[in-house]
Symmetry: C2
Subunit: 88 residues, 2 copies
């Protein structure tokens, strides 16, 4: 089965986010008010061939832990969508 | 109303993604097979105070166009969630 995968890598709560802080400080200068708590993360999308959803999720979990995130300071959120009608 | 906003900034189709290509090339070496089409983007989250959903969406659209993306090479996807029970 082919899965369309999105992994959102975000800094854990409490970890300083200089990129987000810079955006937040700049917005009022540009006329955007009422915005707070800006946090910047990464969004990684890819297609994955796996036998079923369980093994796809296991593989993505493992990738996140070993490769895509730094688990000390980052969290990963995984979204899996089975692509309809795709070859197995 | 308080909105929880997520903006996903992704490279437009056809624009080279060296970060994604590097990840894709590295994965087989680490034992992860069956992955293709890796694309890396940004995920920006924040809270926004606005009078209603329409004006919130207009403000975020405007921010994306003027500040958060480079519209020549990047697309933005906007998710807005009204926070229940939050002060107006």
């Amino acid at each position: 089965m082919l899965f369309s995968v999105r992994v959102e890598v975000s800094l854990r709560p409490g970890i300083a986010d200089p990129q987000g802080s810079t955006i937040e400080r700049s917005l009022p200068t540009l006329g955007f008010d009422g915005i707070r708590g800006v946090r910047v993360g990464k969004s990684i999308r890819f297609d994955l061939l796996a036998v079923d959803e369980e093994s796809a999720r296991r593989e993505v979990d493992d990738m996140c832990r070993r490769f895509l995130t730094n688990p000390v300071i980052e969290d990963a959120t995984i979204d899996l969508d089975a692509c309809e009608g795709a070859p197995a």
